[in-house]
Amino acid sequence: MEKQENGSEAPAPEPELKLYGSWASSYTHRVQLALRLKGLEFEYAEEDLGNKSEALLRHNPVHKKVPVLLHRGRPLAESVIILQYLDDAFPDTRPLLPSDPFLRALSRFWCHFADDKLGPAVGAVFASTGKEQEEAVRQVHENLAMLEAELREGEFKGRRFFGGDRVGLLDVVLGCGSYWLAVFEEVTGVRLVDADAFPLFHAWLRDFEAQEEVKETIPSVDRLLEYARGLRQMLLALAAGAGDGGSTGVPVSSAVDAPVAAAPPAPAPAAAAVDI
């Protein structure tokens, strides 16, 4: 910093990239990992989700959630949108999306699947007990089976990662979230990822977690376990308190922002050929 004429120091320049996040949020991890993979420096601001900062609420008034990325002061929200923005805004960095339009569409499709189907199903396992949990586990297995089939027979067949030899957008999105599977298994005592039932998914996850940038980004298993145990206790207490047999409705939103959407999945509407 240069000293100005009156002897005081010039204020530090605004960082080009600033990330608002939460240490236990897999959505935050996605952005941190993407920035690291691209070699982009950024300032990080930890948010207390129980007491959100004025800045976060101002930058993301619609959802009031992390992560929010500021680039030259302009806010971006929603992790998958942020990741695609990084590809667009920093074209000289390592790309996250493949260049082929069909593979791009497929990557986007499975990202949406991760957030729309797999994530909520895993959250539901974590937030429930008994019969409801059994049903949630069944859904997780159904979803993992679809991913396994895609790895075995689909366009990603034979690849080490969805992105090819190196980690890409879909690996980041699916991977930052999948590390919760082992944690939830430990805390609930329920088996989610059986290496025999889902060998390709299991191998992919192991390879993903072994990447240097991933190890730098994901918190230690001990911290995750402690967090998950606390969350599980709270969710079960809420369910018991609600007295309706385990359905938690919307748990304490600040805690739930963090890992996956822990609200049980909405009842499936009557199947229609027409999605209108």
């Binding site: 791009r104 569409a105 499709f109 050929a273």
Partner: protein, 229 residues
């Protein structure tokens, strides 16, 4: 290379679906020929089930036989494959992110509200109307900022966000009739109100935007089909 007689571009869809409409508008904007296969309610085709085994839903675009699912993903695919003008996604990265953000939020919100207001799923209609007004207020502000005084969210030509939001306009009008609640009110949302008419009259839209009265009929017919015996 498609086989003899196989269309290069085939769309599995329905005239009534706003999600399918998004794809049709994108194809028409790019002047891409396509063949539409109408899917029937309650009787999904073998091709649909094979092409979208994960969700079993329309729209599905088959390009030289390869399936792409999810309407906004298909729209981006169309933009990337047929990269000639007009561009659907803006070229500026930040504007792109802004359109993607609103496209997702508005799409989710509009569908949710419409489902409740037409009676497909149970819910609090007044609460939904309230949520709709909030969403429309955000969209009104987004329109002013994105359009920069021009005709559409995309400026002079329709863009991703025009398509994502505009595709729901017929259903919005239909549920206004069904519920008796005025949603896209001219006094409250003057810019959106004017944009809505322009979007519906756009050459890429006008021939495929359904008639709200037909959607009301469709709702009545569907409700009768799903009524408990």
């Amino acid at each position: 290379m498609s086989g003899a007689g196989e269309p290069e571009v085939r769309l599995l869809g329905s005239w009534a679906s706003p999600f399918v409409l998004r794809v049709m508008v994108a194809l028409r904007l790019k002047v891409v020929e396509y063949e539409m296969q109408q899917e029937t309610l309650g009787n999904k085709s073998e091709l649909l089930l094979r092409s979208n085994p994960v969700h079993k839903k329309i729209p599905v675009l088959l390009h030289n036989g390869k399936p792409i699912s999810e309407s906004l993903i298909i729209v981006q695919y169309i933009d990337e494959i047929w990269a000639s003008t007009p561009a659907i996604l803006p070229s500026d990265p930040y504007r792109r992110a802004v359109e993607r953000f609103w496209g997702e939020y508005i799409g989710d919100k509009f569908s949710q509200v419409i489902r409740v207001l037409r009676g497909s799923v149970p819910g609090d209609k007044d609460k939904m109307a309230g949520e709709m007004f909030t969403a429309l207020q955000y969209l009104e502000e987004a329109f002013v900022s994105c359009s920069q005084g021009k005709q559409y969210f995309g400026g002079d030509s329709i863009s991703y966000l025009d398509i994502a939001a505009g595709s729901h306009l017929a259903w919005i009008k239909a549920v206004e009739k069904i519920s008796g609640i005025k949603l896209l009110d001219e006094a409250r949302f003057p810019n959106l109100f004017a944009w809505a008419d322009r979007f519906c009259a756009h050459p890429a839209v006008v021939d495929v935007m359904p008639d709200p009265d037909k959607l009301v009929e469709f709702t009545v017919k569907h409700a009768a089909m799903c009524a408990p015996k």
